[in-house]
């Protein structure tokens, strides 16, 4: 892991490869060329490195994007990214900052602390970038600020796309293993005609959810034999529409069967795995300690300047804040 950014080694190797090819913001290079350069540097085969490169550019995976992707980088549903021969990549502004920090040209930037690693089945959740930056600023200004205050500034983990996160945040911040529940937004339409599901959790695939909802709405052979279980598991769905668009994001519309109300349908939809998911998190140390360690590890390095630069890069990211 890069000591001055907290970004993983493979991620750093990809950023260095991009830089060596002159792939700066607005100047993309073919992903295949980038992956060849990564293989030369660390010996990682293109198929593996491409998965990481895709993550670094996908807005639904991490709060601070390190790569600016061009071409088909896939969707959250069943559509995969195009082969690396057909996509291009360049460093994002934040990616440039990470490299400059690692070289010592800039003060350290806490990108790893913000992005976490649950997007690749790690245990560290992502947090709101501006909140982490603010907490570190507060710590630099007032070294005796309490852990409780720091935790409250950072707030709960920030899984992208606006899904609702619940769980024992105090236990998580204290560094204890915790299971968080990520819930899509499930709302009844204003005219009480249908239920809308949107803001899916990052580890849910809306296409799979649509298929599974249709399966749960179909008749089961054992329905007559076990009416109680059927009532608990069958979804009273008359119609299911995918109204996803680039403007609205992933959006499913569910119309209840005759005899069922939208409220009943909503309650049942909330309990379908995929509409909600769970994620196990376990910070290596209590959150305030992680923040304090970050500041202590880089004394007198103009940390505030680094934070200002990172904040600017985060605010200028597309589709953010």
């Amino acid at each position: 892991m890069g000591d001055r950014s907290g970004v993983g080694l493979v991620e750093c190797a990809i950023l260095e490869a991009l830089e060596s090819l002159g792939a700066r913001p607005g100047r993309h290079r073919r992903s295949a060329t980038v992956l060849d350069a990564v293989q030369e540097r660390i010996g990682l085969a293109p198929g593996y490195a491409y998965e990481v490169l895709l993550d670094l550019a996908r807005p639904w995976q991490m709060p601070v994007l390190l790569v600016d992707g061009q071409g088909n980088f896939g969707t959250r549903g069943n559509d995969p990214a195009a082969n690396y021969r057909y996509t291009e990549a360049g460093l994002s502004r934040a990616g440039e900052l990470v490299l400059a920090a690692e070289r010592g040209d800039l003060p350290p930037v806490p990108v790893g602390l913000i992005n976490g690693n649950v997007y690749r089945e790690g245990l560290r959740p992502p947090f709101r970038p501006l909140a982490v930056i603010e907490a570190l600023r507060e710590l630099i200004r007032r070294p005796r600020v309490t852990g409780k205050d720091l935790t409250s500034i950072v707030g709960p983990p920030c899984f992208l796309n606006g899904c609702i996160v619940t769980g024992d945040f105090a236990a998580m911040a204290a560094g204890r293993p915790t299971i968080l529940r990520l819930q899509a937004r499930v709302t009844v339409s204003d005219d009480h005609h249908h239920v809308v599901i949107e803001d899916f959790p990052p580890n849910a695939n809306p296409d799979e959810v649509m298929t599974t909802l249709a399966g749960r709405a179909s008749m089961r052979a054992w329905a007559a034999e076990h009416p109680g279980l059927y009532g608990r598991t069958h979804l009273p769905l008359a119609e299911l529409r995918d109204e996803s668009s680039s403007r609205q994001g992933d959006l499913l519309v569910c119309v209840p069967s005759p005899g069922a109300t939208v409220e009943q349908l909503r309650e049942q939809l909330m309990d379908v795995y995929g509409v909600y998911t769970t994620v196990r998190v376990d910070l290596p140390r209590p959150l305030p300690t992680m923040l304090r360690n970050w500041v202590r590890a880089h004394p007198a390095e103009g940390l505030l300047t680094g934070l200002v630069t990172l904040e600017e890069a985060v605010r200028n990211q597309p589709d953010r804040n």
Partner: protein, 130 residues
């Protein structure tokens, strides 16, 4: 919700024993239920029913292995619309008869789910989770 997955497996005719956190929860233990762990009877016909049932409610049916592969797998984890179901296939091959001796049936909705005895469920949990 993972407990409902066990109910659906019973309704689909699969022979298994519920163990793990879901079993302990059904025994009345105040324990969070993360998934449904099931020890599966190793008979070939039962493995066919298991594969069919899982393909029917898995989020990714294409990832459910072919039935021919099941006798060689130790654990099969499937994400379903009721949550994660972990099928402990090796445990079934080794301990099916022993675990059945003290198993009980506990109702879930209107289905009687076969559940390992509380002591067996705790013993398995300690063995695998420490």
């Amino acid at each position: 919700m993972p407990v409902l997955a066990a109910g659906v497996l019973v309704a689909e005719g699969v022979s298994f024993l519920l163990v793990g956190s879901a079993a302990l929860w059904l025994h009345g233990e105040p324990i969070p239920v993360g998934d449904a762990d099931v020890v599966v009877e190793p008979a070939e016909a039962n493995l066919h029913r298991l594969a069919d049932a899982l393909a029917g409610f898995a989020l990714r049916p294409q990832e459910v292995p072919r039935v021919l592969a099941l006798p060689w797998l130790n654990v099969l984890s499937v994400v379903t619309s009721y949550g994660m179901v972990d099928c402990l296939l090796e445990r079934g091959r080794l301990d099916w008869q022993t675990l059945c001796q003290s198993a009980v049936r506990i109702p879930v909705a209107d289905v009687d789910v076969p559940v390992a005895a509380q002591a067996d469920a705790w013993a398995l949990r300690r063995r695998f989770k420490g």
